[in-house]
Each structure stands twice: as structure tokens, then as C-alpha cells.
């Protein structure tokens, strides 16, 4: 048995280690100041896919990511760990997409890829934290979905058995294929990059990257076809441009507020009975105690 797996992954700003320049004055994320990383739960998703490939030899993994040109890094990171190929969905028309437009665009790319048994993605991305894209893609493709997965335990007779991590325990469910699974951060950590795959794919580039100036080793792209990463725009995936990007996004941001946690000023007491009594009265009055 072998399966065709698509892993949906996103490049995100690393919001886990925030410095002082992380936010702009208007309250939006300053993407330039934060390193772009592989969304952590998408790495958990990739590991689930790699685990299936280990157990069911012959299975293939295609990475699919939507983003600007530099998101090709995500495809390479996938290849370095054992994915077979990658597709970058990139087009100005995709920019400014909310979860609805994003899932629409991704679903068109999945249709274009064609044959698949499983789509695996992280539960949510650390920049938006919506957890909506995975489920919406499943809806658009009209396939079943299993969310909050911790492990895809077994695939047998066209069905996958998946362990889910819920608030108060675990649940094991079974679903027919093709199936979309969103993976929880509590799942196995993704394996490190493989040295040989890293060396094999380190020059892998999209067509846009190959057109950049001063590119090294230009002739290897004809002799080593696996170094050419697929890049699709709106036209390649036959997407309805009205449903993409800003125009396809009903979500409108009304206002962004900068929340700054502040500690209140401290008050020094000498410890005299009078002061303690004053404090008691104050705390009871403002309902801190009593």
C-alpha cells in the first residue's frame, strides 16, 4: 500500500521570540523584523506524512504552500526532510487573503495536483491562530476532515485511524480516504533535516528564483530536473480571481489595538499597624479581598 499525501504548510513570522521591533506603530506585525519560519504545527503535520511514508514505502509527499516568492523555503525544508516535491502558489492576486480566500486558492491547487489520498496540515498558524484554513479546504474539496490529530495511526482498507487530542482526553476516530487531517502541536516533533537530502536539494529553486541575477550553477537545472520547484499563479490553477486575495476576503479588520501589559505602581509600606489597617480597608473597598 502506498499513499499520495499533500502537506499544506505556511511560512510565518516567528512570533514566539518577539523583540521590541515586532509590532509597527499601527499595531500590525512588522514582518521584516521577525525571522520567517516554517509554521510549527505544519512541521508536526509534515512529520505525520513522513511517518506514513516510512511505514508505507512508495508513498509520496507533495508540499503545497501559498505565499510570496521566499516561501519557497518551506518547500525546500520539506524536501530536506523527505518530501518528494513541492508547489509554491504565488501571485499578486492571492495577496491579502483571509482564511476563506486562502482555502479557496489552496483547494484549486489541490485539484490541480489531482490524485491524493491524504491532505495533512497543521492545526493553525502562529500568525493568525484561526485554525480555519484546514477545515475550509476540506469543505471546498468535499472530503471528510479530522481535526486536532496527534497521530495518524494506521491506514487500512481505504480508511485511516487517527488519534485526536481533545481538551480532556484522547479520541480515536476512523475516516474513509481521501481525508484532510489537521495536526496538533502535541504530535511528534518533526525529524531534523537529512544531510544527504539537504545536499541533494539545497539548490532547488522556483522559476522566479532561477531568473534572479547572479545565480550559481545555472546549468544544473536542466541536468537535475528535481531541482526545479513548481510555481503556480492564479491562471495555472484556474482560480476565479474574484474569489482570491483581497476581493475574495469578506473579513475586514475594523481596528487593531495594541495591548500593553503594565504592572501597576508599587506602594511601599513601613509595616506600622496604621498602614496595615489602611491597606486592609483599601483592599476590602476595591473588592480585592472580602
Amino acid at each position: 500500500m502506498a499513499f499520495n499525501i499533500i502537506v499544506l504548510a505556511k511560512q510565518v513570522p516567528d512570533t514566539r521570540n518577539i523583540g521590541k521591533d515586532a509590532m509597527k506603530a499601527d499595531g500590525t506585525v512588522n514582518r521584516g523584523a521577525l525571522p520567517a519560519i516554517f509554521n510549527p504545527e505544519d512541521l508536526n503535520a509534515l512529520e505525520q506524512a513522513l511517518g506514513i511514508k516510512d511505514r508505507y514505502p512508495g508513498s509520496t509527499i507533495t508540499m503545497l504552500t501559498m505565499g510570496p516568492g521566499r516561501a519557497a523555503d518551506i518547500l525546500r525544508e520539506g524536501l530536506f526532510r523527505g518530501a518528494d516535491d513541492g508547489v509554491l502558489l504565488t501571485d499578486r492576486a492571492f495577496a491579502g487573503a483571509d482564511t476563506l480566500a486562502t482555502s479557496y486558492a489552496l483547494s484549486t491547487a489541490v485539484r490541480k495536483i489531482g490524485k491524493y489520498d491524504l491532505i495533512i496540515c497543521g492545526r493553525q498558524a502562529i500568525d493568525g491562530d484561526t485554525a480555519q484554513v484546514g477545515p475550509q479546504v476540506a469543505e471546498k474539496l468535499n472530503i471528510p476532515q479530522v481535526t486536532y490529530a496527534e497521530e495518524i495511526e494506521e491506514i487500512n482498507n481505504g480508511k485511516a485511524r487517527v488519534k485526536r487530542r481533545l481538551e480532556n482526553g484522547v479520541e480515536t476516530v476512523e475516516s474513509p480516504l481521501p481525508l484532510l487531517v489537521t495536526v496538533n502541536g502535541s504530535a511528534r516533533t518533526c525529524r531534523p533535516r537529512n544531510a544527504k537530502l539537504l545536499l541533494k536539494f539545497k539548490h532547488a529553486k522556483t522559476v522566479t528564483e532561477r531568473q534572479a541575477e547572479n545565480i550559481d550553477y545555472i546549468d544544473i537545472y536542466s541536468t537535475r530536473p528535481y531541482l526545479n520547484l513548481t510555481e503556480w499563479g492564479v491562471a495555472d490553477v484556474d482560480a476565479d480571481i474574484e474569489l482570491c486575495g483581497l476581493s475574495g476576503s469578506p473579513t475586514k479588520v475594523k481596528k487593531i489595538e495594541n495591548v500593553v501589559f503594565q504592572t501597576k505602581e508599587s506602594k511601599h509600606l513601613s509595616g506600622s499597624d496604621d498602614e496595615i489597617e489602611q491597606l486592609m480597608i483599601e483592599l476590602i473597598a476595591n473588592h480585592t479581598i472580602g
Binding site: 531534523p192 533535516r193 544531510a195 544527504k196 537530502l197 539537504l198 550559481d216
Partner: protein, 571 residues
Amino acid sequence: MNYYIDTPQFRHHLQHPLMKRIVELKERNYTDKDNYEYAPIDFEDTMDSYDKVLEVVGEICAEIIEPNAEAVDQSGPTIHDGRVTYAEPTRRNLEALNKAELMGMGLHRKYGGLNFSMVPYMMSADMVSRADASFQNIWMLQDCGETIYEFAEEQQKNKYLPRIVKGETMSMDLTEPDAGSDLQAVMLKASYNETEGQWYLNGVKRFITNGDADIHLVLARSEEGTKDARGLSMFVYDKKQGGVTVRRIENKMGIKGAPTCELVFKNAKAELIGTRRMGLIRYVMSLMNGARLGIMAQSVGLSDAAYREAYNYAIERRQFGKPIIEFPAVYEMIANIRAKTDASRTMLYETARFVDMYKTLEDISKERKLTPEERTEMKHYSRLADAFTPLGKGMTSEYANQNAYDAIQVHGGSGYMKDYKCERLYRDARITNIYEGTTQLQVVAAIRHVTTGTYLQQIREYEKEVVVPELEPLKRALSKMAQMYEKLVELVTTPKDEDYLDFHARRLVECAGHIIMGHLLLQDANRNPELFRRSAEVYIHYGQVEVIKNYNSVTKSRIEDMGYYKLMPEK
């Protein structure tokens, strides 16, 4: 966290000018690129490959191996029915490195290796040791594959080397209860059954690191009736064949994650490696030199870890209203740890380059005749590697001990508690100046390079390097040290008294070490002042004081004073 990224010294050493020549030789004009998808295209591409793979190693060390280290130290391996089981986290470390295909880094691609130079290979060992010195032992033993590659038949190479790349572990079975430093006394018996055309091993080995490995190299007495080195041969034992059981594992002070085993060989089938009688004379010497370089890397990793523990504690811990690092007595200790660490590391990679140069040329000489220039080059570097390996192993392992000791001192009472990592580092470091030859034995190997002038010649080479004006005073200090060293060698060798030379040998070797490491740090500071200037100043000052001390130790005593030191029973 990533140990490669957070230590800019690695990229500095990786970019050493000699790397161009090393890579050129290692990659034989980059012909592998037509046969292997992961082979490099040219020099820049090779360096990029080294850099990228080291980043993976750095990540695994910081994210997997180090977080496991405390649990490894606490649980350690266990023995059951003559078989060893690693601590669970040790097993996970191995699995991570295997999955990343980081075993057999130095082996040729035709056996599945990465064909990496010694420099990035030792950088990996350095980082693994910083993460968990005990795990570095297990990982580094893959280096035994190098001995199989150098001396075994092609069929044996094809049989064993790909297995090492796939993650099978190794051990080198040399020591016996009555043969420690003196390996000529090895008694484990190898007997040849003519009818079967098969060698059998019988006997006991002791203190064998990773003794339940998949593939063993075994030193055994193949020539009945002999008693010295010329009766010993080298064998490879495959665990799949059976015949070797682990009688016990030692309860050690440190490096607890690495099982140290007593092995019983009972009619264990084995294959001869190379030529009979050459076991100790040739193969063990080669094996040992590789292992010593590995221990240098282990020492450097431990020193680095000790430095970070000491520094991080000293900036956090406040006493008398300020962080303790602001007190001269504390910051001096920390600066010395840092300087000795940087000095150890620069020595490690200089030695690794020398080893790379001569080994690669030696390897090429099996494929084609070397040009006369290449032959000279090979001999030159072979001699330097031979001189630098014992010197470096001796110096860096002593520094690892001193640094771990000082790291505890910086922690004060807390450092004496099991709660702090420096306590483990101290125990782990303690073995580095003992195994693969004690410091006293490194001195025995190094002293001939004092008397024949190998060190002095190399010091003269270093003196030719031009440095920026700000560093001139350091260079002058080093040449004064060299003058004292030269004078000292003369003083100790003139009486032509072997005992007298042996008595002062360590002092002489250490002087050479201080000057050489001082020069290497000076060059580092010249190329990268921001990173190395402080350590160059601190280390050269330290070395200068040590050289003066050793000088006085010789000049302020008489030959006959040696008698006062001979505390031994009357014969």
C-alpha cells in the same frame, strides 16, 4: 537553539585558507558530482555543504542531545543477559543522527558516506560533546571505520562500511586487565582453524567503551608463543556472528551514558584486518591517532560547555549588590576559561587540517602515483599531524579539566550540587586526560618532536605570519617565549641524561604547546579581532607566565635534585 550558529568560531575556523587545498584534494576535481546527487560541484559548493550540514548537527545537538543529557547521566545503560541496553534518551539521540544520515561523515561516497573533511567532522564531534560528552564517545567510535577503510580488503570494506553509515555502532577492543597503557602485553588469543579457514578469538577485554557494539575492532595475539608487539594482529568481530558477551559494565565517575564493558570472547569468529603481526605496530597507532583527535574534540566541547555555564551563572548571580562577574576574582577565572577554550579549539582545527592533508594525499596515493611535490607535502603534514596530535590531546584535555573545575568554582556552593550542569561536566571531563593515553603518555609521544625540533620549526613558520600593528606586542611576547623554550630544550638535552629529559619532558612539551596555541590565537585575532582579540591577549599572557615558570623550574634546580623525588621502596 543551534550550537553551530551560536558559536561563530566554527565558521571562522571553517574558512581557514588551507581549506581550499584540503577540499580540492578530498573532492578529486569534483568528479563525484556526476555519480552522486549530494556531491558538491566546486569549492564554494563544498564549503556551503559543510556549512549547511553543520547547521543540522548544531540543531540536533541543541534541540535533542543536550536536553537528553541530564537523563542520560542519571539512568545510563543497563546490562541484562550479557547484552547492553542504552539509556532510552541515548537511543533517541542515535536515532536522530541516523535519520539525519550523519553517520559515516568522513567515509567515501561509494560506501554511502559524505566524504567530509576532518574539519567539519571534528566540528560535529565538538558540538556533540558540548551537548553530551558521553554520547560523543558512542558517536565518535564510528571513526573505527576509518581503520577498516585504510587497512582492510575491498570485500571487507564493502561489507562493513555501508553498515556503519546506516548507523551500526563500533568499538575498539584493545585494553585488557593486564594490558592498559602497555598494549604489548595483550593476551586475547586469536587462533586460525586451517580446515575452516576461520579465525577464532578467546579471552577477556576490559574497559571497552561501547563494548556491545555491532562491529568491533579487536587487538589479539595471533602468533602463539610471542610476548611482544610483533605477535599482535587486528581483527574485526561482527556481533551477528555471536561469541562475545558482556560480563559487566563499569560504574564510572562520569561519561555515564557510554557503556564501559568487560567482554568475554568464547570462540568468537573474527576476520583478520590487513597483515598479521601489524596489529599494534601499525593499525592501533593509526586508530589511536584518530581517537586522540576525537578526544581533543570532546575536550573542546566540554570546555565550551563549562565556559557557558560559568559565564551565564556569573552574569545572573548577584552578591554584594551586583552580578558576581563584575568582581575581578570572578571575571579573571571566566576570561581564562574562555581563552583556554578558544586556544583548545584553534589547536583542534589546526591538527585536523594537518591530518586531513596527509591522510587525503595518502589515500590519493592508492589511486595514482603522487608527484614529488605531493610526496613532500604528504610527509610534511604527516609529521606535523604526528607532532600536534599528542600535544593537542594533552593540552586540551588538561584544559577541559581546569575549565570544568573553575566553572564549579564560579558557581560556589551551588556548583557542588547535582542541580547544576557544571557538576556533570567536571565528572565527564575527568576522563579526557586519561583515556586514549594519559597526558603523561602524550608527553612521551610528543617529546621527540621537542628534541628533533618539529615544534620549533613550526613556531618559526608561524613567526613569518604578518600581523596588524596592534598585535605586534603579542607577537614579540611569543618570540620571547620561543627563545626561552629553545634555551630550555638545550639545558635539558645537553647532559644527555634520559631520566633528566623524562623528568622535565612535560614542562618542555607544555612550553611548546603555549607558544603554538598562542600563535594560532594570534592568527585568529589577526583575521577576526572582534572574536579573538581578548582570548589572544589573555592566553598569551597566561602562556608567557607558564613558560617563565617552567623555565625557572628547570634553571632553579640541579640534576641531582631529582633524587629527592624518588619515593619508592628500596630494591
